[in-house]
C-alpha cells in the first residue's frame, strides 16, 4: 500500500482548495484515511494532463474483489479454522467475554465480527470491527494471531 507522500506526488500540487481541504497534502492524507475519494479533486478528474495519475490513484482505491467494507479478506483456502483470530479480536472479546473471549463457542454470534463456520473463519457485523467508521484504528489483532496469513486487509 502506498503512503500519503506518494499520493501527493501524483496530485496537481496547486493547492487550489477546490476539494475543501487547505492543501494538496491535506487531500492526500484524507485520501489515505478513506475520508475522500479521488473524484473529490476536480482538477485531477477533469483536466486531461492529470488523466494518467487520476486512473492510477483510482486504481489504488478501487475496492478489491471479495474484500469487505473494512478491506478484510479471508483467504479460505489457507484458513484451517483454528479460531485464534476469533478469540483475539477485541470487539469479539468485548461483546462475548464468556463465549469466544474465553475460547469457547460463541454465546451470541449476532454481535461478533469473526466466527468459525465449517472450519473456515467468516467475517460479519463489520460495523463492530475497529477498522470501521470514523474513529477507526489500524487494529491488527486478527492478522498477527493467524499462523497461516489467511487474513489480510487491503
Amino acid at each position: 500500500m502506498t503512503n500519503a507522500m506518494e499520493l501527493y506526488q501524483m496530485l496537481p500540487k496547486t493547492n487550489c482548495k477546490k476539494c475543501g481541504k487547505t492543501s494538496c497534502m491535506a487531500f492526500a492524507v484524507a485520501l489515505m484515511a478513506h475520508e475522500l475519494t479521488p473524484e473529490d479533486c476536480p482538477p485531477l478528474k477533469e483536466e486531461p494532463k492529470y488523466k494518467e495519475n487520476y486512473e492510477k490513484i483510482s486504481g489504488l482505491f478501487k475496492p478489491s474483489e471479495g474484500a469487505t467494507e473494512t478491506g478484510l479478506i479471508v483467504h479460505e483456502d489457507l484458513c484451517f479454522g483454528c479460531g485464534n483470530c476469533v478469540v483475539a479480536c477485541p470487539p469479539n472479546v468485548a461483546n462475548d467475554p464468556y463465549g469466544v473471549g474465553s475460547g469457547n463457542a460463541p454465546t451470541n454470534p449476532n454481535k461478533l465480527v469473526l466466527t468459525v463456520e465449517d472450519g473456515v473463519v467468516k467475517a460479519q457485523n463489520l460495523g463492530e470491527c475497529r477498522r470501521f467508521g470514523k474513529n477507526k484504528i489500524l487494529c491488527n489483532g486478527c492478522i498477527v494471531t493467524c499462523p497461516v496469513e489467511a487474513i489480510e486487509f487491503v
Binding site: C79, F80, G81, C82, G83, N84, V86, V87, A88, V93, P97, G101, S102, G103, N104, A105, P106, T107, T115, V116, E117, D118, G119, V120, T145, P147, V148
Partner: protein, 414 residues
C-alpha cells in the same frame, strides 16, 4: 437460550463446544470446530459393510468368522483403540484376557512412555482448563499444535481469557516454541522461538538447566548462550508454567531422564506442569484403562491370568519377530503408518479390521467390519489429553455398529 453442544472426537483435544446443523442424518454445517473437526463430523454414512475375504457378507457371518480366527489363534494381537470409547477399550482388555492376546496401542511408538510416567505421578500435571485460567508461560516443545490440534492455542493455552488471566495474551501470557523448524506455532511465538538441530533436545535441556542455576549454558551446536539465559529468566519468573511435550521431544530423547531433570529444575525455581500432546481422541484413555487393570500403559501379553509386559509385546516388535498368529486391528491402519518391512508381516496372518473407513489394512484383511464413527455415529466416554473424562453423544444415526457393540458380540460368541 440453551444450546446443544457436541464433542468433537477429531483429535486429543475433544473440544466440547461444537454446534452442528444436521438434517436427515446428514451433517450440513459445523460451527466452531476447526477444519479437522469439520471433516471428522461430516464423515458419517448410513451404509454398513461386512466382508470376509473379498466377498460382502452379513453381520452374523463376519462376526462368527472373526470369532473363529480368534479362537484358532494361540497368540492373537489386539491393536489400535486410539479412537474407541473407554467402554470399548475396557471390553478389548477383557477380550485380550480371554484369548491370551498381546494387547498394544499406537502409544507404544508415540507418547506411551510419557503418559506412563505421568500416571506414576513422576510429573506434576494440570488440566487444560487450569492452563486457560492460570497459565502465564507455556512451552511447546517438539510439537506444533497449530497444525495437529488447531484449536489448542485459541481454546486453552494462549489466546483465551481465563479466570486469573483477564487481560489476555498480549499482556499476561508468554508462548515459547522449541522445535527443529519454524512451524506455524513457532510463528505465533515470534521472538520466543528457539530453533535447535534435530536430536539436539537433550543438550538443550542440559544447557537450560545450567542457565536456570546461573551457569553459562553450552551446547555443541553453539546455540547463543544469551538466548538460553533469556529463556531461563522467563521460565524462572513463571507463576504457572506448562510444558506441552510432543513427539518431537520424545523421539529425540533416548529416555525420559533429561525431562525429569528439567521439570525438577524448573519446579525448584518456579511452578511448572507437563501435558502430553496426545494425538488420537482416546489414546490417553486406553493408557489409563490398561494402567488401572495391569499397571502398564501398553505392550502387554495376557497369559493364564498373568500379565507380561515389555517392548517385545509392542506391535512393531511382535510383528517383527512374528510371534503373533492373528490380529484384531481396531480403528487403525498399520499398513499406512508402520514401516513396510514390519506391516508386510500382517499379510501372513489372518487380520480382522474394525474401521469406519476403507483403509489399506481393511482391504488386506480377512474380515472387515465397518464400524460407526465414534463421536459422530456412536456415543461413549473418552479421556482428553490432560486426563479429563468427556462424555460424547452421537450426532447422527447409522446402521453401523460401534466398536463397543462389535466387541460385545465377539465376546458373547467366544
Amino acid at each position: 437460550m440453551e444450546k446443544n453442544y457436541y464433542v468433537c472426537t477429531g483429535c486429543g483435544m475433544l473440544c466440547d463446544d461444537i454446534e452442528v446443523e444436521a438434517e436427515k442424518n446428514i451433517v450440513n454445517k459445523v460451527y466452531t470446530a476447526c477444519r479437522v473437526g469439520v471433516a471428522h463430523m461430516k464423515e458419517g454414512t448410513d451404509n454398513a459393510v461386512f466382508r470376509v475375504g473379498d466377498k460382502p457378507v452379513d453381520e452374523a457371518t463376519a462376526v462368527s468368522e472373526a470369532v473363529a480366527i480368534l479362537k484358532n489363534a494361540k497368540n492373537p494381537l489386539i491393536f489400535g483403540l486410539g479412537t474407541s470409547s473407554n467402554e470399548a477399550q475396557k471390553l478389548a482388555i477383557e477380550l485380550a484376557k480371554k484369548t491370551s492376546a498381546t494387547l498394544d496401542d499406537p502409544s507404544s511408538f508415540r507418547l506411551g512412555s510419557l503418559v506412563e510416567a505421568l500416571l506414576q505421578n513422576r510429573f506434576k500435571t494440570c488440566t487444560l482448563d487450569d492452563v486457560r485460567n492460570k497459565a502465564d508461560v507455556t512451552i511447546y516443545w517438539g510439537t506444533n499444535p497449530s497444525d495437529s490440534h488447531p484449536r489448542h492455542l485459541s481454546k486453552h493455552s494462549y489466546f483465551p481469557r481465563g479466570k486469573e488471566k483477564q487481560r489476555g495474551w498480549e499482556e499476561e501470557r508468554t508462548a515459547i516454541a522449541i522445535d527443529v523448524r519454524k512451524s506455524h506455532t513457532a510463528k505465533i511465538c515470534g521472538n520466543y522461538f528457539f530453533e535447535i538441530p534435530p536430536g539436539g533436545d537433550a543438550e538443550f535441556i542440559d544447557a537450560l538447566i545450567a542457565a536456570l542455576s546461573g551457569k553459562l549454558p553450552k551446547t555443541s551446536y553453539n546455540f547463543p548462550p544469551k538466548r538460553i539465559l533469556e529463556l531461563a529468566n522467563i521460565l524462572k519468573g513463571a507463576k504457572f508454567g506448562v510444558v506441552f511435550v510432543g513427539l518431537g521431544l520424545v523421539y529425540s530423547l533416548e529416555n525420559l531422564e533429561p525431562l525429569f531433570r528439567l521439570m525438577d529444575a524448573l519446579n525448584e525455581k518456579a511452578n511448572f506442569h507437563l501435558i502430553p500432546m496426545v494425538g488420537y481422541s482416546n489414546t490417553r484413555g486406553f493408557n489409563e484403562n490398561l494402567f488401572e487393570e495391569t499397571g502398564y500403559v501398553n505392550s502387554v501379553k495376557f497369559e493364564d491370568g498373568a500379565v507380561k509386559h515389555g517392548p517385545e509385546y509392542s506391535i512393531v516388535e511382535s510383528l517383527k519377530a512374528k510371534t503373533v498368529d492373528a490380529a484384531l486391528i481396531i480403528g487403525y491402519d498399520p499398513f499406512s503408518s508402520l514401516p513396510r518391512s514390519i506391516a508386510k508381516n500382517l499379510l501372513e496372518i489372518p487380520v480382522i479390521s474394525l474401521n469406519p473407513f476403507e483403509t489399506l489394512t481393511s482391504r488386506n484383511a480377512k474380515v472387515y467390519i465397518n464400524t460407526a464413527v465414534g463421536g459422530v455415529e456412536s456415543g461413549g466416554t473418552a479421556t482428553r489429553m490432560d486426563g479429563v473424562k468427556v462424555d460424547f453423544k452421537p450426532v447422527v444415526e447409522t446402521k453401523r455398529l460401534s466398536d463397543e457393540a462389535v466387541l460385545k458380540k465377539i465376546m458373547e460368541a467366544l
